[in-house]
Symmetry: C2
Subunit: 122 residues, 2 copies
DNA sequence: AGTTAATTTCGATAGTTGTCGAAATGACGA
DNA sequence: TCGTCATTTCGACAACTATCGAAATTAACT
């Protein structure tokens, strides 16, 4: 029962569900996800480690970035079923559709330069 | 997305999941559920109203009792799918199996009568 | 080695949740 | 109508959670 409860908890936060759906489009680094969600980096980071601990996503180093992606195939049947259900339930969701659009445009290289610009403006 | 989140929240508590699985056996009143779970009546009552608000169960008056039961058929596709998934995930769960056994023995008339009978029933 | 950028960890905080016991409500039967 | 019993509501409390900003960590590039 514990696994079920843990997965349900993971899915019971709006921002975590948004993250999962974004990762269906492509693997993403923390700063990209942060830029789409508009939350503090530390908040996103902690959502990501929770999702990793539950076994829904994996992470790997990519230079100075950490890339997160959905854990497909090898993950337990249960989380697969849950993800399918979530996908089904949200296939017409406004927020999710807009997130996916942003996801496709967002680019870790560009985020950097805009950060630099932001600092110059100070 | 809100419905998904609400259902996930409902399923993210151990005792609520146990209640849902018990109700698969038969409709039950608050005192019967309380007697199986071993929680305070008020706690069980608030779990039940949450589950009702989410749309997973319904209630109806039956004399001095309030009978709760799963909302089948007419409920939204989403909660149907979730319930199927939960059933699947827990079909061999020790706690759930033991709950179901107790559920079949429990009887609202006997709960009232005496503490001794309550103990025998366990 | 020092600088910069991305991420994680830490500390604080406000809000939510699960739980209980007590009080209030509602229904039945004497 | 009164008392009893099942249930709900209320008030309190401890535990947990989502969030932020700051500090620490990690990695790449001078």
């Amino acid at each position: 029962m514990d696994e079920l409860i843990k997965i349900a908890k993971a899915l019971s936060d709006r921002n975590r569900v948004r993250i999962l759906k974004m990762l269906e489009s492509k693997p993403m680094c923390v700063c990209e996800i942060t830029s789409v969600l508009g939350l503090a980096t530390s908040t996103v980071s902690s959502h990501l480690s929770l999702l990793r601990d539950v076994g829904l996503i994996t992470d790997r180093k990519d230079g100075k970035w950490v890339e997160y992606q959905l854990k497909n195939g090898t993950k337990s049947l249960l989380s697969n079923q849950f993800m399918k259900l979530v996908g089904d339930a949200l296939k017409d969701d406004e927020v999710i559709l807009s997130d996916i659009e942003k996801t496709q445009k967002v680019d870790r290289e560009i985020i950097t330069s805009s950060t630099i610009l932001k600092n110059i403006m100070k």
